[in-house]
Structures are given as C-alpha cells and as structure tokens.
C-alpha cells in the first residue's frame, strides 16, 4: 500500500513495450477497437436519453387511451366532460393523431391535429417553424411539416401541397404552410401538424371520437388521485401519467443495451484468451531478458511490478485512445454506420445531431469493462515469467 512508485521501473516498462513493437501494436489496436465500439454505443444511448429528458417536463401530465380487445381504440369525446368534472382537473382536451403511411416513399408520418390555429399556436409557430406563411395558415387546409417530411414530399414532387389518400380512395389536398426548423429534427422530423378537422377528414374519424384525451391537473401532487378516479369511471382505459413517461424514458435502452453488453462479454473473453495466449508465449529473447534481470538482482516482486506497469500503461493508453476516438466519432462525425442500429430501416432519416454530454459514469463503466480485464489476463503469465529461474533461461 505504501509502495512508492518507481520511476525507473515505469521507464523500463515503457521501453519494454516499445521494444516489442508488433505485439504491442496488435494489443493496442484490438483493445482500442473494443473500447471505441463500446464507448460509442454508450455515448449514443446517453445522448438520446438526455435529449428525451430535456423535454420530458413539457409533456402532458395525463394521457388517457381506450383499450378494446387488447388494442388501442378511439375514445368517445364525451368522456372529456366527465373527466373535467373530477376535482383538480383544470383542463381536458380530446386529441386526434395518427400515422399516415405514404406508400410512394414507404414512409410513416405522424400526423398530429391541433385546434384551429389560435393565437397561442401562432406564437409558438413563429418560434419553431420557418418558411411560415401567415396567409396560408388562415385557410383550413394547410399544415406545418417536419424537415424529413418536407424532403420526402419534395422527392415525390410535392412542393406546395400534398395529396392525402382518404380511406374511401379520394384525395385530400393540403397545402404546406411551413416547415419546422431543422435543429428540432430529432423531435419533429416525421411530424405533420394540421387542424383537427382536416385530420378527421383524412382518417375518417367521426366527430364524436378521438385518439386520446390529454388531461391537465393544476396540482401535480393530485395526479395519482385523478388517475385513479379516471380509471374508476372508465375501467377500459390505459392511463399514462408524466411519471410513467419518465420511467419509460429511463429504460429506453436498459434491457437492450444489456444485449450489447452480452455480445461485448463474448468478445471480451475472446480478447482475454488472446491476451493470455500472447503474453504466455514467451520468445527466447524475452526469457533471456528476465534471466538477466534476475541475475543482476531483481526480485520476483520487481519483475511482477514491472509487468504490472507494462500492462497498465498499455491498457490505459489504449483505453484513452478508444474513448478519444469515440468522442470524435459520435459527436463530430455523428456516428456513421453505428447509428443504423438505432435508426433501423426507417426511410425518414434524421440528421443524427446528438447533444453533447460528458458523462463521467460512462467513462468509468468502460474503464471497468476493459482495463481490469486486460490486467487480469496478464496476471498468471507475468507470474510465470517472474518466477523463471535465472540460470535456466540464460544458459
């Protein structure tokens, strides 16, 4: 514990690493690649989670859905009045939203309805949408689209308007009034916002039906009470509170990045075996070296210490390199190739501009997954080397 760090030993260790160039290079290369991949995945997941958490507080406090036959069903708009009567509820709004499959491009849009363009909405549109045409907004059949939606429509030569195909096969023409700004892409990429009436027409939803109901509660402490009361009135509903959303955001990757790690374990143990093999197969030259060291008076402990320094320096160097590379890879180059794991087949690609967060815990996590395992792999080979007999190897 009170051992002083021996500078000469460190110097010797560094020289020993440099002397075995090809071996050291191989180890550093494989090690760096491993930490790089792992850190990149963690950086991406962390940033996505951070992005989610940064807007979680503005989400609706309570969302009420109707479940019928195990599926999500349209809820009666009348329910709004009953919910409004519950003490503590300050507002309840029936929403209409859904997915529109644009077959030509093979893309899903999320179509969201809002009340007629009211003043408050105009204000927020001013903030978040560009190419915003006020004269268009007054007409009922217009929409504001996300960046990705605009691109997709452009590719199909819809520049000013878009033709939605209604359930009965007829067309519904809706003008593009504006585009959400590109820097909100992660949230807005696939979203189309239009008036509720237009959506009802496109999806053929009856006036008395809605997709779900959003409830606002004045005092957040009363949310669970309100939830249980709604559940009592409408036992067939599924109610999602803001707390549920938070938990849901928390575990977005938890089980699955466990899978990443399970794969990583396999490669890690392969790595372990490779290192074990590499460091136990000693060339006669290395054996001679140890022999000479012992002959000039090194103790077993000194050799062990030198070997420890060697493996720590090489693994820590590779670790730093891997983490550094993945910083650049994720936050500067936006994780090409690897992002496909998160995006999948979806045609509507967002720019993968993730917020930069420096999370110390991720660095610790990767550290514990790489450096100790490497050092563990070198314990027994180093010991074997250190206890070699001087006279046997020099002879």
């Amino acid at each position: 514990m009170k051992n002083k760090i021996n500078v000469y030993l460190i110097e010797y260790a560094i020289n020993a690493i440099l002397r075995q160039k090809s071996k050291s290079f191989f180890i550093v290369f494989v090690f760096t690649l491993l930490t790089f991949l792992l850190t990149s995945v963690f950086f991406i997941t962390n940033s996505i989670r951070y992005e989610l958490d940064s807007t979680v507080d503005t989400l609706p406090q309570i969302i009420v859905q109707k479940i019928k036959a195990g599926r999500h069903y349209d809820i009666d708009v009348d329910a709004v009045d009953n919910i409004l009567e519950i003490a503590g509820v300050s507002d309840a709004v029936a929403r209409v939203w859904g997915y529109y499959y644009f077959a030509n491009a093979g893309v899903n849009f999320s179509v969201v309805g809002i009340e007629q363009y009211e003043n408050q909405y105009k204000n927020s549109f001013d903030k978040i949408a560009s190419k915003f045409d006020l004269s268009e907004i007054d007409s009922k059949v217009s929409m504001v689209v996300g960046h990705g939606v605009k691109e997709t429509m452009h590719d199909s030569y819809y520049k000013e308007y878009f033709n939605f195909i209604k359930p009965d096969g007829t067309l519904k023409r809706v003008n593009i009034a504006g585009v959400f700004e590109a820097d909100t892409q992660l949230e807005s990429n696939d979203v189309i916002v239009m008036s509720k009436d237009t959506i009802r027409e496109i999806f053929d939803i009856d006036e008395s039906k809605a997709t779900d109901i959003v409830v606002k509660v004045a005092n957040p402490e009363e949310i669970p009470m309100v939830v249980s009361k709604i559940k009592l009135i409408y036992p067939d509903t599924r109610i999602i509170s803001s707390e549920d959303l938070k938990v849901s955001y928390q575990n977005i990757f938890d089980y699955k990045s466990g899978i990443f790690l399970a794969l990583f374990i396999i490669s890690l143990f392969t790595f372990f075996i490779i290192i074990y093999d590499k460091s136990s197969g000693l060339s006669s030259e290395e054996k001679r070296e140890i022999g000479i060291l012992k002959a000039i008076g090194w103790r077993v402990d000194d050799v062990l210490k030198e070997k420890f320094y060697e493996s720590f320096i090489i693994s820590f160097f590779a670790y730093t390199l891997g983490v550094g590379f993945s910083f650049a890879y994720v936050y500067i180059f936006q994780a090409p190739i690897l992002q496909n794991i998160f995006v999948g087949y979806s045609q509507l690609k967002t720019s993968f501009e993730l917020p930069f967060i420096f999370d110390l815990q991720t660095l610790f996590l990767v550290f514990f997954l790489s450096v100790p395992i490497y050092i563990a792999a070198t314990i027994i080979p180093s010991w074997k080397v250190a206890t070699l007999e001087a006279d046997e190897v020099i002879r």
């Binding site: 514990m1 009170k2 051992n3 963690f42 707390e243 938990v247 928390q250 575990n251 938890d254 089980y255 990045s257 466990g258 990443f260 790690l261 399970a262 374990i265 890690l268 077993v300 402990d301 062990l304 815990q361 610790f364 996590l365 514990f368 997954l369 100790p372 395992i373 050092i375 563990a376 314990i379 027994i380 180093s382 010991w383 250190a386 206890t387």
Partner: protein
C-alpha cells in the same frame, strides 16, 4: 431482474474475481498447510513461488475492489431513477432483503483486504517472512466472506423488481420507521454528540499516550459512533433539512459528491488506526500509521463540524 450495463459490468468483474479468488484460495490452503520455511524440499520451493501469485491476485482484487465499491454506489444511485419511489441508493439497498447485508459485507471485506495488504507488506520486508502462514490463513477466512459477497450481490441484482415500489430514504431514515435503523433515532442528540466528540477526544488522548491497543479500539468505536452521528445529526446539516437523515443522498451531485470525501476520510482514518493495534510494525511505521490515522480522523471531524457551524453562522439557528 435488472440488467443495466453498469450491473452487468459489476457482474462480469465479479466473475473474474471469483475465478482468480478460487485460484488464490486453493494456493492459500496449500501454503497454509504445508508452509515450512526451514525445509529445502522441492514442494516448499514451489510453494514460495506460488505465494507470489497468490499475493498478486489478492492485490489485484483489492486494487480493483475499492474503486468498484464507489462504482457500485454510483450504480445504485442510477438504478434509483428506474425504481419507483427510490430517491437514492438507500431505496435500492432496501429494495431487497439482501441489500443491507451486502453493504455491510462489502465494507467489512474492504477492511479485511486492506488489512491483509498491510500484513503482506510487513511480511515481505522481513527475510524470514514471519507472517506468511497467518496471512494466508486470514485469506482463507476472507475468501469465504468474499465469495458470499459476490453471491449476495448476484442475488440482490437478480431479485430487484423494477415494477415493485420501494421505500424512499426519507421514510427509511426517519424516527417513524419500524426498521432497526430507526432505533438509533431514539438516542438523544446531545448524548450522541457527547459520545462522538468524546470518542474523538479519546483518540487524541491515546494518540499522545501512544497506547496502541486502546487507540485501535477507540478507532473501532469511532466507526460506529461517527456513522450514527452522521445519520442522526450531521446529515441534516448537509441537507439543511431537519427531517432528512439519509446517509446516501450526499453522494449525489446535488451535494457536490461530498459523501465520497466523507467516507474516504473516515475509512482511511479508522483503518490506519486499526492497523496500529493489529499489525506488529517497526517503530517508525507505527508512528507513521498513528499520524495518518490522526490526520484523517481530524479532517473528518473538522469537515463534519463545519456543516452545522456554517449553517449556524448563515441562519442564526440550529436545526
């Protein structure tokens, strides 16, 4: 079952620890039974070589174990975000019946491993290695504690149920709780503070008298009295909340991770205090241990005392 990357990392490292621990254990048993320094036989010669491997493995486990313990607490803090009701690590520890025992076992093991290392360092300084048999005997005992810690940790993580509600530290560490912890709140705060500062005064006294056994014992008592007083009294000043007693929350960023400093000071101070009583050392080493122990205990007391004092200066009242 909860399988975040952090938990998996801990489990992987535990598997490696177990693997190497078993090797060290087998070698220790052999050394413990057959060690004979005066023998010139082949087997004694091999044993001497193997003792190096065992020592290296134990050193390795300890060196990784200490930062891993901090990482473990870090992980519990993180899991508390997913568990409903938990605000900090305390909720996660309480989420299963194993949590508390695991925690105690972990702390105990760190003391034992650190003690082993000091013994080992003392041992290899002497030519005839007087402690070899004892130190490997100690490791045989420590191994069982260590393995039970690993198993308990595995069981704990696998029995955490994400959908079950757990207690928050605010309810765990309050006088209205019915757990064993709540009984400490029955102690009068004044008495507790007398005990705490009195205990510290004894440490200072024995430091000047150089009574090593009494010094070690008063350090042992100091571990308990300081943790109890931390929960009951000093914690409330760290949070500036009279009702919040949690010994985990101040490990979080809201309190500038001060908890890590507090526990590190306490560990180093009391550990070296214990070492003076339990390890036969050379003269200057003993004095060095005395000084380290005194210094860190002193810093610990100063740091904790500052919280109420600063609070009093700022607000003009006691909590």
């Amino acid at each position: 079952m909860i399988l975040t990357p952090e938990v998996l990392a801990i489990l992987i490292l535990n598997a490696i620890f177990a693997f190497f621990g078993i090797i060290a254990f087998v070698l220790s048993v052999r050394i413990f039974l057959a060690w004979d320094l005066n023998s010139v036989s082949q087997s004694q010669y091999i044993l001497e070589k193997q003792s190096f491997l065992t020592a290296t493995i134990i050193k390795y486990i300890f060196v990784i174990k200490v930062p891993l313990f901090l990482f473990f607490i870090f992980t519990l803090d993180k899991i508390s975000n997913v568990l409903t009701g938990a605000m900090c690590a305390a909720g996660v520890v309480d989420a299963t019946v194993y949590g508390t025992y695991l925690f105690m076992l972990k702390i105990l093991n760190i003391y034992i491993f650190a003690y082993w290392l000091v013994l080992h360092n003392e041992d290899i300084k002497h030519e005839n290695q007087p402690y070899t048999k004892i130190k490997f005997g100690i490791f045989i005992v420590a191994f069982f504690l260590f393995i039970s810690e690993l198993i308990l940790e595995g069981i704990m993580f696998s029995s955490i149920d994400i959908d079950k509600m757990v207690s928050c530290c605010g309810t765990l560490y309050s006088s209205s709780a019915t757990s064993a912890i709540s009984s400490i709140f029955a102690i009068d705060t004044d008495v507790l503070l007398y005990v705490f500062y009195g205990n510290f005064a004894f440490i200072i006294l024995f430091y000047f008298l150089k009574q090593k056994y009494l010094f070690a014992i008063s350090n042992l008592v100091f571990i308990i009295s300081s943790i109890v007083s931390l929960i009951v009294f000093f914690g409330t000043y760290i949070y500036e909340l009279p009702t919040h007693h949690c010994p985990f929350c101040f490990l979080q960023s809201d309190y500038y991770y001060v908890g890590y400093l507090i526990y590190a000071l306490l560990f180093i101070g009391t550990f070296y205090g214990l070492v003076t009583g339990f390890v036969k050392n050379s003269k200057e080493n003993i004095i060095k241990n005395y000084k380290i122990s005194m210094l860190f205990n002193f810093l610990y007391v100063i740091l904790l005392s500052l919280y109420p004092i600063v609070f009093y200066i700022k607000n003009g009242v006691w909590l």
